[in-house]
Protein backbone atom coordinates (compact mmCIF):
# COMPACT_ATOMS: atom_id res chain seq x y z
CA UNK A 1 0.00 0.00 0.00
CA UNK A 2 1.59 3.34 -0.93
CA UNK A 3 2.01 5.86 1.82
CA UNK A 4 1.65 9.22 0.20
CA UNK A 5 0.71 11.49 3.04
CA UNK A 6 3.41 14.05 3.64
CA UNK A 7 4.61 14.57 7.15
CA UNK A 8 4.06 17.84 8.97
CA UNK A 9 5.79 18.65 12.25
CA UNK A 10 4.87 21.77 14.22
CA UNK A 11 6.15 22.83 17.63
CA UNK A 12 3.73 24.79 19.77
CA UNK A 13 5.55 26.37 22.71
CA UNK A 14 3.52 26.86 25.83
CA UNK A 15 3.89 29.73 28.27
CA UNK A 16 3.54 27.26 31.08
CA UNK A 17 3.52 23.49 31.03
CA UNK A 18 5.06 21.14 28.47
CA UNK A 19 5.79 21.92 24.84
CA UNK A 20 3.51 20.30 22.27
CA UNK A 21 4.85 18.82 19.05
CA UNK A 22 2.09 18.11 16.53
CA UNK A 23 3.05 15.40 14.06
CA UNK A 24 0.70 14.51 11.20
CA UNK A 25 0.97 12.34 8.09
CA UNK A 26 3.14 9.31 7.31
CA UNK A 27 6.25 8.61 9.33
CA UNK A 28 8.48 6.48 7.10
CA UNK A 29 12.14 6.34 6.10
CA UNK A 30 11.61 9.29 3.71
CA UNK A 31 9.88 11.58 6.20
CA UNK A 32 11.36 10.50 9.54
CA UNK A 33 14.53 12.68 9.19
CA UNK A 34 12.17 15.68 9.32
CA UNK A 35 10.84 14.59 12.72
CA UNK A 36 14.33 13.61 13.93
CA UNK A 37 15.67 17.11 13.20
CA UNK A 38 12.73 18.71 14.99
CA UNK A 39 13.22 16.46 18.02
CA UNK A 40 16.96 17.09 18.15
CA UNK A 41 16.34 20.80 18.60
CA UNK A 42 14.26 20.20 21.70
CA UNK A 43 16.10 20.50 25.01
CA UNK A 44 14.90 18.19 27.76
CA UNK A 45 15.45 18.65 31.45
CA UNK A 46 13.68 18.42 34.78
CA UNK A 47 10.33 20.07 34.08
CA UNK A 48 11.26 20.61 30.42
CA UNK A 49 8.85 18.01 29.02
CA UNK A 50 7.36 17.30 25.64
CA UNK A 51 3.99 15.99 24.54
CA UNK A 52 3.88 14.64 20.98
CA UNK A 53 0.41 14.82 19.48
CA UNK A 54 0.19 11.89 17.07
CA UNK A 55 -3.56 12.06 16.41
CA UNK A 56 -2.84 13.02 12.76
CA UNK A 57 -0.33 10.18 12.28
CA UNK A 58 -1.47 7.87 9.47
CA UNK A 59 1.47 5.49 9.24
CA UNK A 60 4.59 4.70 11.25
CA UNK A 61 7.35 2.38 10.06
CA UNK A 62 10.44 1.02 11.81
CA UNK A 63 12.49 4.21 11.30
CA UNK A 64 9.71 6.30 12.86
CA UNK A 65 9.64 3.97 15.85
CA UNK A 66 13.43 4.14 16.23
CA UNK A 67 13.27 7.95 16.25
CA UNK A 68 10.55 8.09 18.91
CA UNK A 69 12.46 5.60 21.06
CA UNK A 70 15.70 7.61 20.71
CA UNK A 71 13.92 10.85 21.71
CA UNK A 72 12.37 9.13 24.70
CA UNK A 73 15.77 7.90 25.87
CA UNK A 74 17.26 11.38 25.50
CA UNK A 75 14.39 12.87 27.52
CA UNK A 76 14.89 10.18 30.17
CA UNK A 77 18.63 10.88 30.41
CA UNK A 78 17.91 14.57 30.99
CA UNK A 79 15.19 13.72 33.58
CA UNK A 80 12.53 15.20 31.34
CA UNK A 81 9.40 13.43 30.15
CA UNK A 82 8.21 12.55 26.65
CA UNK A 83 4.55 11.63 26.34
CA UNK A 84 2.66 10.41 23.29
CA UNK A 85 -0.94 11.44 22.75
CA UNK A 86 -3.76 10.59 20.38
CA UNK A 87 -2.24 7.48 18.82
CA UNK A 88 -4.39 5.77 16.18
CA UNK A 89 -5.78 2.46 17.44
CA UNK A 90 -3.92 0.32 14.88
CA UNK A 91 -0.58 2.07 15.45
CA UNK A 92 -1.11 1.80 19.22
CA UNK A 93 -1.69 -1.94 18.72
CA UNK A 94 1.61 -2.27 16.80
CA UNK A 95 3.45 -0.32 19.53
CA UNK A 96 1.90 -2.60 22.14
CA UNK A 97 3.04 -5.78 20.31
CA UNK A 98 6.55 -4.33 20.20
CA UNK A 99 6.40 -3.87 23.96
CA UNK A 100 6.69 -0.09 23.67
CA UNK A 101 3.70 0.40 25.99
CA UNK A 102 6.06 -0.57 28.84
CA UNK A 103 8.39 2.24 27.84
CA UNK A 104 6.36 5.10 26.41
CA UNK A 105 3.35 6.68 28.07
CA UNK A 106 0.30 6.82 25.76
CA UNK A 107 -2.56 9.24 26.33
CA UNK A 108 -5.83 9.63 24.45
CA UNK A 109 -5.38 13.38 23.92
CA UNK A 110 -2.70 16.08 24.39
CA UNK A 111 -4.86 17.62 27.11
CA UNK A 112 -4.87 14.38 29.03
CA UNK A 113 -1.10 14.11 28.68
CA UNK A 114 -0.64 17.68 29.96
CA UNK A 115 -2.92 16.91 32.94
CA UNK A 116 -0.85 13.79 33.70
CA UNK A 117 2.31 15.91 33.83
CA UNK A 118 0.84 18.57 36.11
CA UNK A 119 -0.84 16.02 38.38
Amino acid sequence: MPHENNLTVALQPHVSGPRLLVVAGDLDHHTTPHLRRALEEIEFGPGADLVIDLSGLTFCDSTGIATLVAAHQRANDARGALLLAGLDQDIARVFQIMGLDRLLAFYDSPEEAVRALSG
Binding site: S62, T63, A66, A70, V94, I97
Partner: protein
Protein backbone atom coordinates in the same frame (compact mmCIF):
# COMPACT_ATOMS: atom_id res chain seq x y z
CA UNK B 1 42.43 24.83 -37.47
CA UNK B 2 40.77 25.95 -40.65
CA UNK B 3 40.93 23.97 -43.81
CA UNK B 4 42.11 26.28 -46.59
CA UNK B 5 40.74 24.45 -49.59
CA UNK B 6 37.14 23.39 -49.14
CA UNK B 7 36.33 20.46 -51.30
CA UNK B 8 33.96 21.87 -53.86
CA UNK B 9 32.15 19.34 -55.93
CA UNK B 10 29.07 18.92 -57.93
CA UNK B 11 26.56 16.18 -57.25
CA UNK B 12 28.61 13.22 -58.34
CA UNK B 13 26.00 10.52 -58.16
CA UNK B 14 22.28 10.27 -58.45
CA UNK B 15 20.97 11.25 -55.04
CA UNK B 16 18.70 8.94 -53.09
CA UNK B 17 19.62 5.93 -55.16
CA UNK B 18 21.89 3.24 -53.70
CA UNK B 19 25.16 2.79 -55.48
CA UNK B 20 27.15 -0.45 -55.67
CA UNK B 21 29.71 -0.58 -52.89
CA UNK B 22 33.00 -2.39 -52.69
CA UNK B 23 33.45 -4.47 -49.55
CA UNK B 24 36.09 -2.10 -48.17
CA UNK B 25 33.66 0.76 -48.48
CA UNK B 26 31.03 -1.41 -46.84
CA UNK B 27 33.32 -2.00 -43.87
CA UNK B 28 33.92 1.73 -43.47
CA UNK B 29 30.19 2.35 -43.73
CA UNK B 30 29.49 -0.35 -41.13
CA UNK B 31 31.80 1.42 -38.66
CA UNK B 32 30.08 4.72 -39.36
CA UNK B 33 26.60 3.23 -38.92
CA UNK B 34 27.65 1.68 -35.59
CA UNK B 35 28.60 5.21 -34.46
CA UNK B 36 25.27 6.55 -35.74
CA UNK B 37 23.40 3.88 -33.78
CA UNK B 38 25.38 4.72 -30.64
CA UNK B 39 24.04 8.26 -30.74
CA UNK B 40 20.66 7.31 -32.22
CA UNK B 41 19.57 5.99 -28.80
CA UNK B 42 19.69 9.58 -27.57
CA UNK B 43 16.66 11.78 -27.47
CA UNK B 44 17.51 14.47 -30.00
CA UNK B 45 13.91 15.59 -30.45
CA UNK B 46 14.02 17.98 -27.51
CA UNK B 47 16.86 19.87 -29.09
CA UNK B 48 16.69 23.59 -28.44
CA UNK B 49 20.48 23.54 -28.82
CA UNK B 50 20.20 21.94 -32.28
CA UNK B 51 17.48 24.39 -33.34
CA UNK B 52 19.79 27.24 -32.39
CA UNK B 53 22.59 25.74 -34.46
CA UNK B 54 20.32 25.56 -37.53
CA UNK B 55 19.15 29.15 -37.05
CA UNK B 56 22.71 30.38 -36.58
CA UNK B 57 23.88 28.55 -39.73
CA UNK B 58 21.12 30.23 -41.78
CA UNK B 59 21.96 33.63 -40.30
CA UNK B 60 25.70 33.31 -41.02
CA UNK B 61 25.00 32.54 -44.69
CA UNK B 62 22.07 35.01 -44.92
CA UNK B 63 20.19 32.00 -46.31
CA UNK B 64 16.53 31.07 -45.76
CA UNK B 65 17.10 27.39 -44.99
CA UNK B 66 19.37 25.38 -42.71
CA UNK B 67 19.21 21.96 -41.07
CA UNK B 68 21.03 19.55 -38.78
CA UNK B 69 20.80 16.00 -40.14
CA UNK B 70 22.01 12.55 -39.15
CA UNK B 71 22.61 10.07 -42.01
CA UNK B 72 21.43 6.53 -41.27
CA UNK B 73 21.99 3.59 -43.62
CA UNK B 74 19.23 4.58 -46.02
CA UNK B 75 17.47 7.51 -44.38
CA UNK B 76 18.49 11.01 -43.43
CA UNK B 77 16.98 12.14 -40.13
CA UNK B 78 16.37 15.85 -39.66
CA UNK B 79 17.26 16.68 -36.05
CA UNK B 80 16.64 20.42 -36.32
CA UNK B 81 15.65 22.78 -39.13
CA UNK B 82 15.41 26.49 -39.83
CA UNK B 83 13.03 27.61 -42.54
CA UNK B 84 12.39 24.74 -42.73
CA UNK B 85 13.72 23.43 -46.04
CA UNK B 86 11.38 21.14 -48.02
CA UNK B 87 11.92 17.39 -47.57
CA UNK B 88 13.29 16.02 -50.82
CA UNK B 89 15.27 13.05 -52.03
CA UNK B 90 17.72 15.48 -53.68
CA UNK B 91 18.52 17.27 -50.41
CA UNK B 92 18.75 13.96 -48.50
CA UNK B 93 21.16 12.74 -51.17
CA UNK B 94 23.29 15.87 -50.76
CA UNK B 95 23.44 15.33 -46.99
CA UNK B 96 24.43 11.68 -47.54
CA UNK B 97 27.09 12.70 -50.05
CA UNK B 98 28.53 15.27 -47.62
CA UNK B 99 28.84 12.55 -44.97
CA UNK B 100 30.56 10.24 -47.46
CA UNK B 101 33.04 12.95 -48.40
CA UNK B 102 33.75 13.78 -44.82
CA UNK B 103 34.87 17.35 -45.48
CA UNK B 104 32.96 20.55 -46.25
CA UNK B 105 30.69 20.03 -49.19
CA UNK B 106 29.59 22.95 -51.36
CA UNK B 107 27.46 23.14 -54.52
CA UNK B 108 27.45 26.70 -55.93
CA UNK B 109 24.55 26.19 -58.33
CA UNK B 110 22.39 23.10 -58.42
CA UNK B 111 20.79 24.26 -61.68
CA UNK B 112 24.13 23.78 -63.44
CA UNK B 113 24.22 20.12 -62.45
CA UNK B 114 22.17 18.13 -64.98
CA UNK B 115 21.22 15.48 -62.39
CA UNK B 116 19.92 18.05 -59.89
CA UNK B 117 18.53 20.63 -62.30
CA UNK B 118 15.36 18.66 -63.01
CA UNK B 119 14.47 18.19 -59.34
CA UNK B 120 11.16 19.87 -58.27
CA UNK B 121 12.79 21.75 -55.34
CA UNK B 122 15.40 23.22 -57.73
CA UNK B 123 13.26 23.85 -60.79
CA UNK B 124 10.07 24.67 -58.91
CA UNK B 125 9.39 26.06 -55.41
CA UNK B 126 11.30 27.13 -53.41
CA UNK B 127 13.95 27.00 -56.16
CA UNK B 128 17.01 25.89 -54.16
CA UNK B 129 20.27 26.69 -55.96
CA UNK B 130 23.01 26.70 -53.34
CA UNK B 131 23.98 23.95 -50.86
CA UNK B 132 26.78 23.91 -48.28
CA UNK B 133 27.44 21.37 -45.52
CA UNK B 134 29.92 20.78 -42.72
CA UNK B 135 30.16 17.25 -41.40
CA UNK B 136 29.42 16.24 -37.81
CA UNK B 137 32.34 13.94 -36.98
CA UNK B 138 33.03 11.92 -33.82
CA UNK B 139 36.39 12.12 -32.03
CA UNK B 140 37.39 8.82 -33.66
CA UNK B 141 36.60 10.18 -37.13
CA UNK B 142 33.19 8.67 -37.89
CA UNK B 143 30.89 11.00 -39.81
CA UNK B 144 27.41 11.02 -38.27
CA UNK B 145 25.64 13.70 -40.25
CA UNK B 146 25.92 17.31 -41.27
CA UNK B 147 24.93 20.91 -40.66
CA UNK B 148 23.43 22.13 -43.95
CA UNK B 149 22.66 25.53 -45.43
CA UNK B 150 20.47 26.05 -48.54
CA UNK B 151 19.93 29.28 -50.49
CA UNK B 152 17.60 30.15 -53.34
CA UNK B 153 20.31 32.02 -55.26
CA UNK B 154 23.51 30.62 -56.77
CA UNK B 155 26.57 31.83 -54.90
CA UNK B 156 29.98 30.94 -53.50
CA UNK B 157 30.78 30.03 -49.92
CA UNK B 158 33.31 32.26 -48.17
CA UNK B 159 36.14 30.81 -46.09
CA UNK B 160 34.82 32.54 -43.00
CA UNK B 161 31.30 31.21 -43.56
CA UNK B 162 32.56 27.65 -44.04
CA UNK B 163 34.75 27.92 -40.95
CA UNK B 164 31.68 28.98 -38.95
CA UNK B 165 29.70 26.09 -40.40
CA UNK B 166 32.45 23.67 -39.31
CA UNK B 167 32.41 25.18 -35.82
CA UNK B 168 28.65 24.69 -35.66
CA UNK B 169 29.05 21.04 -36.70
CA UNK B 170 31.65 20.65 -33.94
CA UNK B 171 29.19 22.22 -31.47
CA UNK B 172 26.55 19.66 -32.47
CA UNK B 173 29.13 16.91 -31.86
CA UNK B 174 29.97 18.34 -28.43
CA UNK B 175 26.27 18.40 -27.52
CA UNK B 176 25.85 14.79 -28.69
CA UNK B 177 28.88 13.72 -26.62
CA UNK B 178 27.46 15.43 -23.51
CA UNK B 179 24.12 13.72 -24.05
CA UNK B 180 25.79 10.36 -24.62
CA UNK B 181 27.83 10.74 -21.43
CA UNK B 182 24.71 11.69 -19.45
CA UNK B 183 22.79 8.80 -21.02
CA UNK B 184 25.58 6.38 -20.08
CA UNK B 185 25.76 7.70 -16.53
CA UNK B 186 22.05 7.12 -16.11
CA UNK B 187 22.38 3.65 -17.65
CA UNK B 188 25.34 2.74 -15.44
CA UNK B 189 23.54 3.99 -12.36
CA UNK B 190 20.43 2.03 -13.29
CA UNK B 191 22.52 -1.11 -13.79
CA UNK B 192 24.32 -0.60 -10.49
CA UNK B 193 21.05 -0.16 -8.66
CA UNK B 194 19.54 -3.23 -10.30
CA UNK B 195 22.71 -5.15 -9.46
CA UNK B 196 22.55 -4.10 -5.82
CA UNK B 197 18.88 -5.13 -5.61
CA UNK B 198 19.68 -8.48 -7.23
CA UNK B 199 22.48 -9.00 -4.76
CA UNK B 200 20.24 -8.11 -1.83
CA UNK B 201 17.56 -10.51 -3.08
CA UNK B 202 20.13 -13.28 -3.49
CA UNK B 203 21.53 -12.56 -0.04
CA UNK B 204 18.04 -12.59 1.46
CA UNK B 205 17.34 -15.96 -0.14
CA UNK B 206 20.55 -17.43 1.28
CA UNK B 207 19.41 -16.28 4.71
CA UNK B 208 16.41 -18.58 4.54
CA UNK B 209 17.13 -22.29 4.88
CA UNK B 210 16.71 -23.97 1.45
CA UNK B 211 14.88 -26.85 3.17
CA UNK B 212 13.88 -27.43 6.76
CA UNK B 213 15.52 -30.40 8.49
CA UNK B 214 13.47 -33.50 9.28
CA UNK B 215 12.63 -33.57 12.96
CA UNK B 216 11.48 -37.01 14.20
CA UNK B 217 7.84 -36.87 15.26
CA UNK B 218 7.32 -33.35 13.91
CA UNK B 219 6.12 -31.80 10.66
CA UNK B 220 7.66 -28.46 9.75
CA UNK B 221 6.96 -26.14 6.83
CA UNK B 222 7.91 -22.56 6.01
CA UNK B 223 7.18 -19.97 3.35
CA UNK B 224 8.20 -16.46 2.42
CA UNK B 225 5.63 -14.17 0.78
CA UNK B 226 7.40 -11.16 -0.72
CA UNK B 227 5.14 -8.20 -1.42
CA UNK B 228 7.41 -6.73 -4.10
CA UNK B 229 9.98 -8.22 -6.45
CA UNK B 230 11.99 -4.99 -6.32
CA UNK B 231 12.39 -4.42 -2.63
CA UNK B 232 13.83 -6.87 -0.17
CA UNK B 233 12.30 -7.17 3.27
CA UNK B 234 14.07 -8.46 6.33
CA UNK B 235 11.98 -11.44 7.45
CA UNK B 236 13.83 -14.55 8.56
CA UNK B 237 13.26 -18.00 10.09
CA UNK B 238 15.13 -21.22 10.81
CA UNK B 239 14.80 -24.64 12.42
CA UNK B 240 17.97 -26.42 13.55
CA UNK B 241 19.26 -29.16 15.89
CA UNK B 242 20.49 -28.29 19.39
CA UNK B 243 22.19 -30.64 21.82
CA UNK B 244 20.69 -34.11 22.40
CA UNK B 245 17.20 -34.40 20.96
CA UNK B 246 16.32 -30.73 21.33
CA UNK B 247 15.62 -28.44 18.40
CA UNK B 248 15.77 -24.69 18.12
CA UNK B 249 13.61 -22.52 15.90
CA UNK B 250 13.12 -18.84 15.32
CA UNK B 251 11.26 -16.36 13.16
CA UNK B 252 11.54 -12.61 13.06
CA UNK B 253 11.72 -9.37 11.16
CA UNK B 254 14.51 -6.77 11.06
CA UNK B 255 13.80 -3.07 10.62
CA UNK B 256 14.28 -1.49 7.21
CA UNK B 257 14.40 -2.75 3.65
CA UNK B 258 16.92 -3.45 0.93
CA UNK B 259 20.58 -4.35 1.18
CA UNK B 260 20.94 -2.90 4.69
CA UNK B 261 18.10 -5.08 5.96
CA UNK B 262 19.63 -8.14 4.28
CA UNK B 263 22.96 -7.50 6.00
CA UNK B 264 21.20 -7.04 9.35
CA UNK B 265 19.19 -10.23 8.77
CA UNK B 266 22.47 -12.08 8.26
CA UNK B 267 23.86 -10.75 11.56
CA UNK B 268 20.66 -11.59 13.45
CA UNK B 269 20.38 -15.09 12.03
CA UNK B 270 23.96 -16.14 12.77
CA UNK B 271 23.90 -14.50 16.20
CA UNK B 272 20.74 -16.49 17.07
CA UNK B 273 22.34 -19.76 15.91
CA UNK B 274 25.56 -19.07 17.82
CA UNK B 275 23.79 -17.83 20.95
CA UNK B 276 21.67 -20.99 21.00
CA UNK B 277 24.81 -23.15 21.01
CA UNK B 278 26.21 -21.15 23.92
CA UNK B 279 23.00 -21.16 25.97
CA UNK B 280 19.78 -22.44 24.42
CA UNK B 281 17.52 -20.85 27.03
CA UNK B 282 15.25 -18.74 24.78
CA UNK B 283 15.33 -15.73 27.09
CA UNK B 284 19.14 -15.83 27.15
CA UNK B 285 19.30 -16.20 23.37
CA UNK B 286 17.26 -13.02 22.83
CA UNK B 287 19.28 -11.15 25.49
CA UNK B 288 22.48 -12.14 23.66
CA UNK B 289 21.06 -10.97 20.33
CA UNK B 290 20.08 -7.68 21.97
CA UNK B 291 23.64 -7.18 23.28
CA UNK B 292 25.12 -7.87 19.82
CA UNK B 293 22.75 -5.42 18.07
CA UNK B 294 23.39 -2.73 20.71
CA UNK B 295 27.16 -3.11 20.15
CA UNK B 296 26.64 -3.02 16.40
CA UNK B 297 25.06 0.39 16.77
CA UNK B 298 27.35 1.82 19.45
CA UNK B 299 28.82 5.14 18.35
CA UNK B 300 27.22 5.01 14.92
CA UNK B 301 25.24 7.80 13.35
CA UNK B 302 23.01 5.43 11.42
CA UNK B 303 19.52 4.66 12.77
CA UNK B 304 19.70 1.99 15.44
CA UNK B 305 19.25 -1.49 13.95
CA UNK B 306 16.67 -3.59 15.68
CA UNK B 307 14.41 -6.55 15.15
CA UNK B 308 11.50 -8.45 16.55
CA UNK B 309 11.76 -12.21 16.97
CA UNK B 310 10.32 -15.36 18.47
CA UNK B 311 12.86 -17.94 19.58
CA UNK B 312 11.79 -21.39 20.75
CA UNK B 313 13.19 -24.72 21.89
CA UNK B 314 11.43 -28.02 21.19
CA UNK B 315 11.95 -30.99 23.49
CA UNK B 316 10.35 -34.36 22.66
CA UNK B 317 8.00 -35.33 25.45
CA UNK B 318 5.79 -38.42 25.21
CA UNK B 319 3.49 -38.19 22.18
CA UNK B 320 4.39 -34.56 21.58
CA UNK B 321 6.86 -31.81 22.33
CA UNK B 322 7.46 -29.36 25.11
CA UNK B 323 7.93 -25.87 23.71
CA UNK B 324 9.68 -23.02 25.45
CA UNK B 325 9.19 -19.73 23.66
CA UNK B 326 10.61 -16.25 24.17
CA UNK B 327 9.53 -13.19 22.25
CA UNK B 328 10.97 -9.76 21.74
CA UNK B 329 8.37 -7.34 20.38
CA UNK B 330 6.92 -9.93 18.02
CA UNK B 331 3.26 -10.81 17.32
CA UNK B 332 1.96 -13.85 19.24
CA UNK B 333 2.56 -17.39 17.96
CA UNK B 334 -0.76 -19.17 17.51
CA UNK B 335 -1.42 -22.80 18.42
CA UNK B 336 -4.16 -24.62 16.53
CA UNK B 337 -5.12 -27.46 18.83
CA UNK B 338 -6.18 -30.95 17.75
CA UNK B 339 -9.81 -29.98 18.48
CA UNK B 340 -9.58 -26.90 16.23
CA UNK B 341 -9.40 -24.24 18.95
CA UNK B 342 -6.83 -21.52 18.44
CA UNK B 343 -4.86 -19.99 21.31
CA UNK B 344 -1.94 -17.59 21.44
CA UNK B 345 1.30 -18.89 22.91
CA UNK B 346 2.67 -15.57 23.91
CA UNK B 347 4.53 -14.41 26.94
CA UNK B 348 3.31 -10.91 27.78
CA UNK B 349 5.62 -7.94 27.65
CA UNK B 350 8.50 -8.94 25.34
CA UNK B 351 10.10 -5.82 23.84
CA UNK B 352 11.98 -4.83 20.68
CA UNK B 353 15.48 -6.32 20.37
CA UNK B 354 18.55 -4.14 19.95
CA UNK B 355 17.22 -0.64 20.54
CA UNK B 356 15.97 -0.31 24.12
CA UNK B 357 17.84 0.14 27.38
CA UNK B 358 17.28 -2.82 29.69
CA UNK B 359 14.74 -4.47 27.40
CA UNK B 360 12.39 -7.06 28.77
CA UNK B 361 12.11 -10.42 27.03
CA UNK B 362 9.35 -12.72 28.13
CA UNK B 363 9.29 -16.52 28.09
CA UNK B 364 6.52 -19.08 28.28
CA UNK B 365 6.28 -22.88 28.18
CA UNK B 366 3.60 -24.90 26.44
CA UNK B 367 3.01 -28.33 24.98
CA UNK B 368 2.33 -29.47 21.46
CA UNK B 369 0.38 -32.70 21.65
CA UNK B 370 -0.53 -35.08 18.85
CA UNK B 371 -2.70 -33.21 16.34
CA UNK B 372 -1.59 -29.76 17.52
CA UNK B 373 0.01 -27.20 15.21
CA UNK B 374 1.92 -23.98 15.88
CA UNK B 375 2.06 -20.97 13.57
CA UNK B 376 4.77 -18.30 13.65
CA UNK B 377 4.43 -15.32 11.30
CA UNK B 378 5.70 -11.81 10.74
CA UNK B 379 3.58 -8.67 10.98
CA UNK B 380 3.14 -8.40 7.19
CA UNK B 381 0.24 -10.80 7.79
CA UNK B 382 -1.43 -9.25 10.86
CA UNK B 383 -0.90 -5.65 9.69
CA UNK B 384 -2.55 -6.41 6.33
CA UNK B 385 -5.76 -4.51 5.60
CA UNK B 386 -9.00 -6.42 5.17
CA UNK B 387 -11.53 -5.31 2.53
CA UNK B 388 -13.26 -3.19 5.22
CA UNK B 389 -10.01 -1.22 5.65
CA UNK B 390 -9.29 -2.44 9.17
CA UNK B 391 -6.14 -4.26 10.21
CA UNK B 392 -6.42 -8.08 10.12
CA UNK B 393 -4.65 -8.22 13.51
CA UNK B 394 -4.25 -11.27 15.71
CA UNK B 395 -8.02 -11.51 16.17
CA UNK B 396 -8.73 -11.70 12.44
CA UNK B 397 -6.00 -14.30 11.92
CA UNK B 398 -7.24 -16.33 14.91
CA UNK B 399 -10.80 -16.34 13.54
CA UNK B 400 -9.54 -17.41 10.12
CA UNK B 401 -7.49 -20.29 11.55
CA UNK B 402 -10.37 -21.37 13.83
CA UNK B 403 -12.68 -21.53 10.81
CA UNK B 404 -10.19 -23.82 9.04
CA UNK B 405 -10.23 -26.24 12.00
CA UNK B 406 -7.66 -28.89 13.05
CA UNK B 407 -4.62 -28.77 10.80
CA UNK B 408 -1.03 -29.74 10.04
CA UNK B 409 2.07 -27.69 9.25
CA UNK B 410 1.55 -28.05 5.49
CA UNK B 411 -2.18 -27.31 5.66
CA UNK B 412 -1.47 -24.24 7.85
CA UNK B 413 0.85 -22.91 5.16
CA UNK B 414 -1.85 -23.40 2.54
CA UNK B 415 -4.41 -21.64 4.76
CA UNK B 416 -2.08 -18.67 5.20
CA UNK B 417 -1.20 -18.63 1.50
CA UNK B 418 -4.88 -18.52 0.58
CA UNK B 419 -5.49 -15.77 3.14
CA UNK B 420 -2.62 -13.63 1.77
CA UNK B 421 -3.92 -14.19 -1.76
CA UNK B 422 -7.43 -13.15 -0.72
CA UNK B 423 -6.14 -10.02 1.06
CA UNK B 424 -4.37 -9.09 -2.19
CA UNK B 425 -3.29 -5.44 -2.21
CA UNK B 426 -4.23 -5.17 1.47
CA UNK B 427 -0.89 -6.84 2.20
CA UNK B 428 1.79 -4.13 2.24
CA UNK B 429 4.78 -5.92 3.76
CA UNK B 430 6.63 -9.21 3.32
CA UNK B 431 5.38 -12.13 5.38
CA UNK B 432 7.42 -15.09 6.58
CA UNK B 433 5.58 -18.09 7.98
CA UNK B 434 6.94 -21.05 9.95
CA UNK B 435 4.52 -23.85 10.88
CA UNK B 436 5.18 -26.84 13.14
CA UNK B 437 2.80 -29.72 13.86
CA UNK B 438 2.73 -33.02 15.66
CA UNK B 439 1.02 -35.67 13.52
CA UNK B 440 -2.19 -37.03 15.05
CA UNK B 441 -1.98 -40.54 16.48
CA UNK B 442 -3.32 -42.94 13.87
CA UNK B 443 -4.77 -45.97 15.59
CA UNK B 444 -4.69 -49.28 13.73
CA UNK B 445 -7.32 -51.40 15.51
CA UNK B 446 -5.99 -54.69 14.19
CA UNK B 447 -2.35 -54.08 15.04
CA UNK B 448 -2.51 -56.22 18.20
CA UNK B 449 -3.81 -59.33 16.43
CA UNK B 450 -1.39 -58.79 13.53
CA UNK B 451 1.49 -58.64 15.99
CA UNK B 452 0.37 -61.94 17.51
CA UNK B 453 0.12 -63.70 14.17
Amino acid sequence: MRRKEPEVSTVDEAPGRPMPLASAVEAVEAGRLAAVRRYAALDTTSGAAFDRVATLAARIFHAPFASVTIAGDDTVRVVAAHGPPPRSALLDGLCAAAVRHGGPHVVDDLLRDPRAAGDPVVRGEPGIRFYAAAVITTADGEALGSVNVMDVRPREAGDEELACLRDLAALVMDELEIRLAAHRTVEVERELRAGAERLARTLQRTLLPPALPRVPGLRAAAAYHPVSADEVGGDFYDLFPLDGDRWGFFLGDVCGKGAGAAALTSLVRYTLRAAAVYDADPHAVLANLDAVLQQEHAGGDAPAPYCTAVFGVLQPDGDGFGVTLATGGHPPALAVRADGTVEPIHPAGGQLIGILRDPHFAQVSARLNAGDALLLYTDGLTEARTPTGSMLDEDGLTAHLAAAGPTSADALLTTVHDLITALGRGVSDDTAVLALSVPPITRTPSSGSLGAA
